[in-house]
Amino acid sequence: MGTTLTARVRRHLLDLDLSVDVEQAPVTVVFGPSGSGKTTLLRCLAGLDRPESGSRIEYDGALWCDDSTWVRARDRRIGLLFQDHVLFPHLSVAGNVGYGLRQLPRADRPARIREALAAAGAEHLIDRAVPQLSGGEAQRVALARALAPRPRLLLLDEPLSALDTPTRARLRGELRRLLREAGVPALVVTHDRAEALALGDRVAVLIDGRLRQFDDVATVFSAPADLAVADAVGTETIVAGQVVDTDQGVTRVQVRGHLLHAVTAEPLPEGSPVLACVRAEDVALHLGAAESGGSPRNHLAAVVTGLDDHGPLLRVDLDAGFALAAYVTRPTREDLGLTPGLRVTAVIKAPAVHLVPRGTT
């Protein structure tokens, strides 16, 4: 068995059991809406807060916390990256990165500082003063500061959410590579779907202090375990319906005047209530009437009700008898001449419709 983090943490609302093989999944994301207990979990793992009795935290064979054991934060050899860098403003960049190198002989420190800055893609910032750094630069320096003492585990608390949108997008793409190259197992706490999708190997969904799903990143986002998870991970369309029948693995669901085709692993009882979840990325739009003959099973007549900027994409809100969301690119919008009021056909492949049996929440 590889290096594992095993945590049973109880504190206030938080009550969770988590076991992660960090060699198998170098970057684990704890995903949850605000107030779900993510930060509490992170602080307990870091050793900054002490969980309540009955808790137990073990990492790589070392017991960090149980009812009679408490390893202080400074003895856990972890790296912690805050939402907004929290650099020491009175120290230089090098001073910040070197802050955790107390145990390293003085002569070896400059080399280690450079090495850590390089690992965070921040070599060029070594001579800058902390107050002159931009948000993205400061976060790189903070990453270097966390990596410099060669921690055994890196904890990241919403590492990108304090940055402006373009910087966040740029760093999001890079952070996973930096984390992988650093070779330090990482646990990222976030409420940002894009961050979770971009960074995580495995995603643990935390809602109201409970672990609701822990799975591969793709599984969590395309097959949420229940309605609460689906809501939290942001499946864009969730609509109630009733199972009509299942034939050769394809389940037909009656949804407000439409018959949706979905692929399910197990047949669902006829007439049982379900929620159909469709991610906006999986909805394609065509002009004009529904054309049959293609492979997608679902063709829904819909009217555009609104258009919304969503980073590089546009979110198109549709009325298909129920509210449906689709993502399109900007050229698509121009080609189709998408404006509110336009009649379109929404096309969805059956495997993209995920059914959550109702009452599982």
Binding site: A46, A73, R74, D75, P131
Partner: protein, 224 residues
């Protein structure tokens, strides 16, 4: 002009400031970061000299330092001297009297510090003393400076407490303010005027230097 009194006041103020910073830094750090509630009581006791008349404070200190009290007796057996009406006794009284002037600016300064800086320091392997010396104090230089200047100025100008505890022994307990009072009582207005002017000029210079250092940023760290 009573140079002896000025010299004594300066010595008393410097010693009080030095002792108070040593006491007030850990006290304020503890008050600012303790999660418990009862330290509010300590905070109230520390602030007492702000509202008590100096004579009341002086009276209690006098009683506490007198040869009939355990403290006074212990000191007498140890050194063969009395604490009351001595420079040491005066120093103890001054420390108590100026305690809120040292603790409160530091407390405000420590409490205003982003707690996550302390978390960052701890996670990076530093203990509490290390964090205090490397993060808290450097970032709280304005609070430290304010505490030192206020303590110094407050001790220079104290009168009631000195009169109660120290009396009026030249070179031992006669401070500037006592000397001025003495001169006026003896209708020696010329001496009183000269000493007063010297004290006024000195105070003004100290405050001007402090504020100009603060303005130039020598006492603060640069904010973003």
């Amino acid at each position: 002009m009573d140079w002896q009194a000025i010299d004594l006041s300066v010595r008393l103020s410097l010693a009080t400031t030095a002792i108070l910073l040593v006491i007030a830094v850990p006290l304020a750090a503890w008050l600012a970061h303790t999660p418990r509630r009862w330290p509010v009581l300590i905070e109230a006791v520390v602030a007492l000299p702000l509202v008590l008349p100096p004579t009341v404070l002086g009276f209690y200190v006098l009683v506490a330092l007198g040869t009939r009290s355990p403290i006074g007796q212990w000191w007498y057996e140890l050194t063969g001297k009395t604490l009351a009406f001595s420079f040491t006794g005066l120093l103890i009284a001054s420390v108590l009297y100026s305690l809120p002037f040292a603790v409160q600016p530091l407390l405000a300064s420590f409490a205003g510090l982003d707690r996550r800086l302390l978390d960052a320091s701890e996670v990076l392997g530093r203990g509490r003393v290390d964090t205090l010396l490397r993060v808290v104090l450097p970032m709280c230089r304005p609070g430290l400076a304010t505490a030192a200047v206020l303590t110094f100025a407050h001790t220079m100008g104290e009168f009631g407490v000195v009169l109660m505890v120290g009396g009026n022994i030249p070179g031992e307990t006669r401070t500037v303010s006592i000397s001025i009072y003495d001169s006026v009582q003896a209708f020696d207005y010329a001496t009183a005027a000269r000493t007063s002017l010297a004290l006024l000029a000195f105070s003004l210079v100290v405050l001007t230097v402090t504020y100009s250092l603060q303005r130039r940023g020598a006492l603060t760290w640069v904010r973003r």
